[in-house]
Subunit: 200 residues, 2 copies
DNA sequence: GCAAAAATTGAACATCGTTCATTAATTTTT
DNA sequence: AAAAATTAATGAACGATGTTCAATTTTTGC
């Protein structure tokens, strides 16, 4: 078979990315093969390489998507709150919920990999900046006297805490006792951090 | 060639694990192949499977080693401090130092994987317990009135923070600005957390 | 309708993890 | 000391992987 053109280049691109996301969600990234993706979109493996550089390149675009929805869910959870304290807490919970409800996807999102394309990382960086902005905004409200550097540092520290909670939660091995719930850990972390932050 | 017996079973086992660790440190786990490991220890790939179940099984034993040294380095850094506050700070710095100095190894250690053997995870859990104990001990000193549950939760929260800092540091993508140093983030996190913890 | 361009294929390549019958060395038994 | 049994290690093979690319077919522009 030769040229078909049932889909434009961009259509095919997002078709592949979405099919890959589905496969990742179901089986985990390690088990997803080029041939599987190709079959899912109704093409042959070779076609993938006319639209993307690599399998890794495809995964990068999947992560772009993942970061977007993670950001949206966090932003939505925050917007439901009026107080900065509660807002940050909600962000943490939302973050953890995403991680536990989309285990495989989250794993892929933060698994390190040397990136083959230049476009994807840029798009990804933008999305991460948005996450930071979300936190920095609240930290500023909570303590207007803090310098910009302090706010940036604080946001990174807070996010690191939330992210670490999610990460450790996912490495099942690490969870010896099932006693502590996600929200308990986030509460402990966020409350203690913010209480000091407020009175710094 | 047939039987050689230059090494006992256990010798061969630790030979393989150490060779694998070297390869992981240099090239990253994804690039390490069974054939490479076999060549490094002077055997053929088949031999690996008479000593371990899997490549994954080998990696698990590598991680056992990794967690041991991580723990030792943290414990050592802590023991140099007398004050609990400084002790926990030192632990955080040591943790981050290990992560940045052993990027590939750290990646492997906390990359999730369904474990094929039953022995390794048990050994790994023991080592993780030790890490928790280290933190819990200091938290208890810092606030003797805290309940056991609170101490456990606090330790998990703190470790999550440190771990998250390390994790995010490693996903280069995430670091848009190189302004904040590792120790700054840890300071921000640990100081704010512990200040509240003390006066809870 | 025809030539040029573009899209898709499918066969091929090297490499991967893993298995297992075969072989060679060592122990054990006689 | 020879034969038998056991163990260690091999290496060839299998199926599956990511990736490449000449060949083929369809669309497009003239």
């Amino acid at each position: 078979m030769g040229r078909r053109s049932d889909h434009s280049r961009e259509e095919l691109q997002s078709l592949i990315v979405e099919a890959t996301l589905d496969l990742v969600k179901e089986h985990g990234a390690e088990k997803v093969t080029a041939r599987q993706i190709a079959q899912a979109v109704g093409y042959t493996p070779g076609t993938l390489y006319s639209v993307f550089i690599n399998l890794q390149d495809i995964f990068l675009h999947v992560n772009e998507l993942g970061l977007s929805t993670l950001f949206e869910q966090c932003a939505k959870a925050m917007s439901a709150q009026t107080e900065p304290f509660a807002a940050i807490r909600s962000l943490g919970i939302a973050y953890l919920e995403f991680a536990t409800n989309n285990t495989h996807q989250f794993d892929l999102m933060f698994a390190r990999a040397d990136s083959p394309s230049e476009e994807a990382p840029a798009a990804i960086q933008t999305r991460i900046r948005s996450m930071f902005d979300l936190i920095e905004e609240q930290l500023r409200i909570l303590n207007p006297d803090a310098t910009t550097a302090q706010v940036k540092l604080g946001a990174r520290a807070l996010w690191s805490g939330v992210h670490g909670t999610a990460t450790l939660r996912l490495s099942d091995q690490l969870y010896l006792d099932r006693s502590s719930s996600d929200s308990d850990v986030v509460d402990m972390l966020v409350n203690n951090f913010l209480r000091s932050w407020q009175h710094r």
